[in-house]
């Protein structure tokens, strides 16, 4: 909770103090002086800062996140329009990250200091170090253009009608409505962007899985499990991995943060109609309220993911009491 307050305080400072002329920036640079003044009055931009902060917080809580000067629409309604696509993409990317990241960490730890270990360490270092646009462009080039397997843009082919709106996520909605054509098509569309995102973040998971596996291998109960006759597979997966997963949950927030940051680049390259794409458009239009909206949304998501990680930690570790 203090973190949450602190975060809003900083976003407030960025949007009201760092900005040279808040009213002008908020109104958009094409606005008339009268419109700027009206906006300043409406949002109490001439009031003392602490008063402004109250209004700011009130706006955040009641859902008034400002109005976009470019589209004239409330920021929150635009965000909620783009949000489902990002959630869908992020979930797909997290699934790929976990499916790839955890086993690689396990293999790396099992072959500690061996060839596989070195190979995997290099791989995740390269993943960490590669700009998301590099991965995205190479994937598009190879699987989209050269091999021509996956579509390179959007979340559904333009000749198909989107499924009935339930959650806003095409894969889920098409599944719920039994629209198989849309389902297959949208799964096909999500493969490349989700993989591109996953490739830049799987190292977070692999690295912590590897190091916590190595730590667990030193524990007495691993030796005791062998002594009572368990096969290596059982010791590694049932005991060592189960224990190593506990510290792995702590990177959930970090993972989501990296993933959301990546969406800004990946979504704009794949023209995926999510928050990242919206953020880039807002940047191009210098639509400041929208940019701040995205900042608040992403940061809140990460804070919530961290809370969730704490809960998950306690569920996985019987020794922890909340």
């Amino acid at each position: 909770m203090p973190t949450l307050l602190g975060v809003t305080l900083i976003t407030f400072l960025i949007s009201r103090v760092i900005v040279p002329d808040p009213a002008r920036t908020w109104a958009g640079f094409r606005a008339t002086p009268a419109a700027v003044a009206a906006l300043a009055a409406r949002y109490h931009l001439n009031a003392p800062l602490y008063i402004q902060y109250f209004y700011y917080m009130g706006g955040l809580i009641t859902g008034h996140w400002g109005v976009s000067p470019t589209s004239g629409r409330p920021v929150l309604s635009q965000i909620s329009q783009y949000f489902p696509a990002t959630v869908e993409l992020a979930i797909a990317a997290i699934v790929i990250t976990i499916i790839v990241g955890i086993p690689l960490g396990v293999v790396s730890a099992l072959h500690h200091n061996g060839k596989y270990d070195h190979g995997i360490r290099f791989l995740y270092l390269a993943g960490f170090s590669s700009p998301p646009f590099f991965v995205a462009l190479v994937i598009i080039l190879v699987f989209g253009y050269v091999l021509n397997i996956f579509p390179t843009q959007g979340e559904l082919s333009s000749n198909l009608a989107p499924p009935a709106h339930i959650t806003g996520m095409y894969i889920v909605d098409s599944l719920l409505t039994g629209n198989w054509t849309d389902f297959v098509n949208s799964v096909w569309h999500i493969v490349m962007p989700a993989t591109a995102l996953a490739l830049t973040v799987f190292g977070i998971v692999t690295r912590i899985t590897r190091s916590s596996m190595l730590e667990v291998f030193q524990k007495d109960f691993v030796r005791a499990s062998y002594a009572k006759g368990l096969a290596q597979r059982a010791v590694v997966y049932r005991h060592a991995l189960r224990n190593a997963l506990i510290p792995t949950t702590t990177v959930l927030g970090l993972l989501l943060g990296a993933l959301l940051s990546g969406t800004i680049v990946v979504e704009s390259i794949f023209l995926w109609p999510g928050i990242g794409y919206f953020a880039l458009q807002s940047i191009e239009n210098l639509d400041f309220p929208s940019i701040m909206g995205v900042t608040v949304l992403f940061t809140l998501s990460v804070v919530i993911a961290n809370l969730l990680a704490d809960v998950l930690y306690a569920v996985l570790d019987p020794r922890i009491k909340i």
């Binding site: 973190t3 975060v7 760092i18 390269a126 700009p131 927030g253 959301l260 940051s261 940019i291």
Partner: protein, 297 residues
Amino acid sequence: MASTRKFQLPFDRNEAAITWRVVKSSPMTLAGAVIAVAFVALAIADVVTRDAILPYNPYALTTQLLRPPSLAHPLGTDDLGRDVLSRVLAAAPIDAEVAFSVVGVAMALGLLTGGLAGYRGGLTEEVIMRVTDIFLSFPGIVLALAIVAALGPSTLHSIFALVPVWWPTYTRLARAETLSVKSQQFIDSSRAVGQRPSYIIGHHIFPNIFPTLLVYATLDIGNVILTYSILSFIGLGAQVPTPEWGLLTVQGESYLRSYPWIPIAPALAILVVAVGFSLLGDGLRDALDPRVRGTFG
């Protein structure tokens, strides 16, 4: 415990020797070191010679548009007839400047705030660490993005925006290191002979925590370049016609299908440099880790 170190070199000779041995023993670290040195050397050489070491003038427009790679143009030419290789190489000093200034300022701030928090403790520590935690809960790019958007897009503003992303890590690190140095005897003895806190911090604590911070700084050079290039890619960092890797990539993006080297080459350059600094930093961190060290010493 050797008593104190003077603030001469970040590592004393013995430490440097051990560090070099660890670095040498790992081919990956060595590769990282080579890349890092080459990058810095290129950046300096390019600045000193004012682009004269580049094969072509990176800004000169020619009529040879969109040529494929050849002997004359190893990475071809772009849509305005500029040599792609020269433009990619010319970006080195710009990216280096951003990376070193961000890491340098962040490290100095971290050293000050973290050292203060660790040394003073109490309310000072509480306040500094709370603020640090708040900054750390922002996803890196998102915070930088909001700040640059507020200030207006430019390279200088990118530096302003990236410092708050990086300093909290150094604050945490410096505080933890200060606490461990503080618990050692020689600090108590300095205090016992009545030396001023500022003297103790300056002469005993900083020199002892500096090496650790420097290792993390090495790791971060690559990360800052990465983040800065992303800012440029989304239009908030470097502005046209500056050759900057992220910007070069986004400008070449539309040529991906037919002239893939135009966007891929600058993006690959970021990858190579970032991997290089990561490998070097990882290796140095191992070298500084007493557990790893023991097995070599």
